[in-house]
C-alpha cells in the first residue's frame, strides 16, 4: 500500500485573482492589451495584503527621543507666547527629565497630550519661575513649585485637565487643598492661595 502525498506549495499572493483573467489571444489589439494590463494592476495585492515586514519595536532611547522632539515641535507652535531664554531653559529641563540614563525602564515617556496641557497651563499662568519637572508612571508630566516649604504640584492630564494639590502656610496656619480642575479655571481656583508665592520671584513681588 502506498501513501499518496500531495505537496502544495504556498500560493503566491501576487497571483491571487489572476486566474480570472485569461491570457489575451494572439493578434490582440493595443486597446485590449491596455485593458489587460490595467486588470492585472487591479488584481495585484496591496502592500498590506502581501504583508510588509513588521517594524522592530522602538527602544526606550528612541521613544524618549521621539517624545522630546514632539514636545519641542509643539512648543515651537506657541513660541511667541514664551520668552526665548525661558523657553530655552525649559527645553534644558525636558532634556534632563527624559535623559535615557536616568529614565525608569518601566515608565512610558510622558504623552504629547499631557505635554500639550502642560504647555497651555504655562501660557495661561505665565509664571516667572519655571516649575521643577517630574513624571508619573502612566505618562503624565508633573509641574512642581516649592518655595520656603510651600508646595504646589500640578499633574497635567490629557485634554486640558489638571490634578493639583498644594500645602502652604497662611498667617501661621498650614493649609492643604487638592482637586481636579479644567485648565481654564485653574487660575481662578488657585487665586485664594496667593499663587504669586510660587510663580513670581520675590524681587518682582516687591516691585509690584
Amino acid at each position: 500500500m502506498s501513501t499518496l502525498q500531495v505537496v502544495r506549495a504556498p500560493r503566491d499572493p501576487a497571483r491571487f485573482g489572476l486566474a480570472l483573467i485569461s491570457e489575451p489571444s494572439i493578434g490582440v489589439s493595443p486597446t485590449s492589451a491596455l485593458i489587460q494590463q490595467r486588470l492585472k494592476s487591479i488584481t495585484a495585492p496591496t502592500p498590506t495584503f502581501i504583508g510588509s515586514p513588521a517594524l522592530p519595536p522602538k527602544s526606550l532611547e528612541e521613544k524618549l527621543y521621539d517624545a522630546l522632539a514632539a514636545f519641542k515641535i509643539r512648543t515651537a507652535t506657541v513660541a511667541m507666547h514664551l520668552d526665548r531664554d525661558w523657553r530655552s531653559r525649559l527645553f534644558h529641563q525636558l532634556d534632563s527629565l527624559l535623559a535615557v540614563e536616568d529614565w525608569d525602564v518601566q515608565d512610558p515617556p510622558p504623552s504629547l497630550a499631557s505635554f500639550s496641557t502642560f504647555l497651555r497651563m504655562l501660557i495661561l499662568l505665565r509664571p516667572d519661575r519655571r516649575p521643577g519637572l517630574g513624571a508619573t508612571d502612566d505618562g503624565n508630566l508633573i509641574a512642581a513649585w516649592t518655595v520656603a516649604g510651600d508646595r504646589l504640584t500640578i499633574e497635567c492630564l490629557k485634554e486640558d485637565i489638571v490634578r493639583w494639590n498644594l500645602a502652604a502656610t497662611f498667617a501661621g496656619e498650614r493649609e492643604k487643598a487638592a482637586a481636579i480642575t479644567p485648565l481654564p479655571r485653574l487660575a481662578d481656583v488657585l487665586a485664594p492661595y496667593d499663587p504669586a508665592r510660587w510663580f513670581r520671584y520675590a524681587d518682582h513681588l516687591s516691585a509690584e
Binding site: D102, D104, Q106, R130, G134, D137, T153, E155, N165, K176
Partner: protein, 157 residues
Amino acid sequence: MIPRAGSDMPITYLPNEHHVVRYVPWARLRKDEDDNVIGVLGTAFKLRDDESYLSATWAEFFPGSRGDAILAATKAIRGSRITVTPRSGFAIGNVGRVKDACLADPQKHKVRIIHEPEDDNEAHTALRGWPRDNDLLLELLAEEVWSETILTKSIPA
C-alpha cells in the same frame, strides 16, 4: 511573629521604630527649576495599576547603626532587579509614622508593613492596604513622613 496562612513562614510585621527605604526614580524626585533635588513627589509612593502593595526595603534587617542599616538597604536595592540610575534617590520612612499617617487620614487606611523576602532582596518589604487614590495623603507622606531623601550619587558604590 504570626504564622502565615497556608505557609510555614511566619508573618513578620516590622517594628514601629524601624525604617523602610524606597527607591525613587529621577522623574519622581521633587526638583526646583534648576533641577536641584529638594525631596520626593507624592507620586513616588503611588501604586502602579498592576501592583497590589507598595515595595520597600527593611533597613534594620541589616545589622549596625541606623546609618549602616540604611546604607545596606540601598545596596540591597542596587543588587536587586531594580535598575538604579545615577540621579535617582532613596526615601527613608519610619514604620510607625507611616502607619499613623495613613490611619490618621480621613479614609483611615490600615496599612500593614510586612517582611516579604524576595529572591533578589532578602529585606524586601510589602506595604499592604496601601491607598490607591489619595493624592493628599501621598503628598503628606512625601512632605512630612517619608521625606528623608538620599541621592544615589552620594552613596559609595
